[in-house]
């Protein structure tokens, strides 16, 4: 009887040690994966939302820098209104619905920026300028690529 009791106790002890180690290892790897995911989430969204911010900046400054044109040109006013609606619909989260809206609206936003380019008689190509800027600011970061002082 006492020999059986001791054996069970040892087994329980071993299981306890194993479980303690397992929990510690799982907790560490779970946190590591969470952080890796978060890094990639930050990078992806930063790259994606520069253009949204850029367009919001256009919508804020154009009525000031082109005040008379905005009041006289209905097409310009309409384009700015449409752009306001399109960027306003974009949501900063990664749900399926929000991502679908982003994908749809970003195409429309780019097209409206082309229209805006003509209406403002902007020298050069506004869309190409934005694309170049986004590339310059956020580059094309791969998940596996990690600079020493960056995530």
């Amino acid at each position: 009887m006492s020999a059986e009791f001791d054996f069970d106790q040892i087994l329980n002890l071993e299981e306890g040690f194993y479980q303690q180690g397992f929990d510690e290892g799982q907790s560490e790897s779970t946190k590591k994966q969470y952080i890796e995911g978060k890094e990639f989430g930050y990078q992806t969204a930063y790259q994606r939302f520069i253009i949204i911010g850029y367009v919001k900046g256009l919508l804020k400054t154009i009525p000031q820098t082109h005040a008379s044109l905005c009041s006289s040109n209905k097409a310009l006013s309409l384009t700015l209104l449409q752009l306001t609606k399109l960027v306003g619909e974009v949501r900063p989260d990664n749900s399926d619905v929000s991502v679908a809206i982003f994908e749809t609206n970003i195409v429309k936003i780019r097209n409206k920026c082309r229209v805006l380019n003509g209406l403002l008689k902007h020298q050069g190509d506004l869309v190409k300028e934005i694309d170049a800027l986004v590339g310059e600011i956020s580059g094309q970061i791969k998940t596996s690529e990690s600079a020493d002082n960056m995530w």
């Binding site: 002890l13 071993e14 194993y18 290892g25 930063y46 939302f49 990664n94 800027l133 600011i137 002082n149």
Partner: protein
């Protein structure tokens, strides 16, 4: 137990007197062995969904930062095109400072990659834009 008292040990039991020293060492070894195996198995079994949860949480915060950076750059660029030379100079500096590698530098985040307060670089440039817009 006082050491050196041979009357405590029986000649028939060769293990007598050694038990107190041997058992803890055995337990330590077993603990290390099983805990190590458990740790290794645990490392290979990260809780499902942690990568996605991390991505989703980072995405929202990254979107807010990217949007602010875009708005700062756009405003400076438009003011520059409208003839504001100071805004033009600031635009070039802002491009360098709002680079993703600088904005997402670990220096601005805590161990959980959360911002402790407002992002210092973004805040600096928002203030600069306010000033140059006046």
């Amino acid at each position: 137990m006082q050491g050196g008292d041979e009357s405590d040990f029986s000649d028939d039991d060769v293990w007598a007197g050694d038990e107190a020293k041997v058992v803890p060492a055995q337990v330590d070894t077993k603990e290390q062995k099983h805990a190590k195996q458990g740790y290794v198995d645990g490392l290979a079994n990260a809780k499902e969904g942690s990568l996605q949860t991390g991505f989703d949480n980072g995405y929202g915060q990254g979107a807010a930062l990217g949007e602010k950076a875009g708005e700062i750059l756009s405003t400076l660029r438009q003011l520059s095109l409208a003839g504001n030379t100071k805004a033009g100079e600031l635009f070039e500096t802002a491009k360098a400072e709002l680079n993703i590698q600088n904005v997402l530098s670990v220096a601005y985040f805590d161990d959980n990659l959360d911002l402790e307060a407002q992002h210092k670089v973004i805040q600096k440039w928002e203030e600069a834009v306010d000033k140059v817009s006046q």
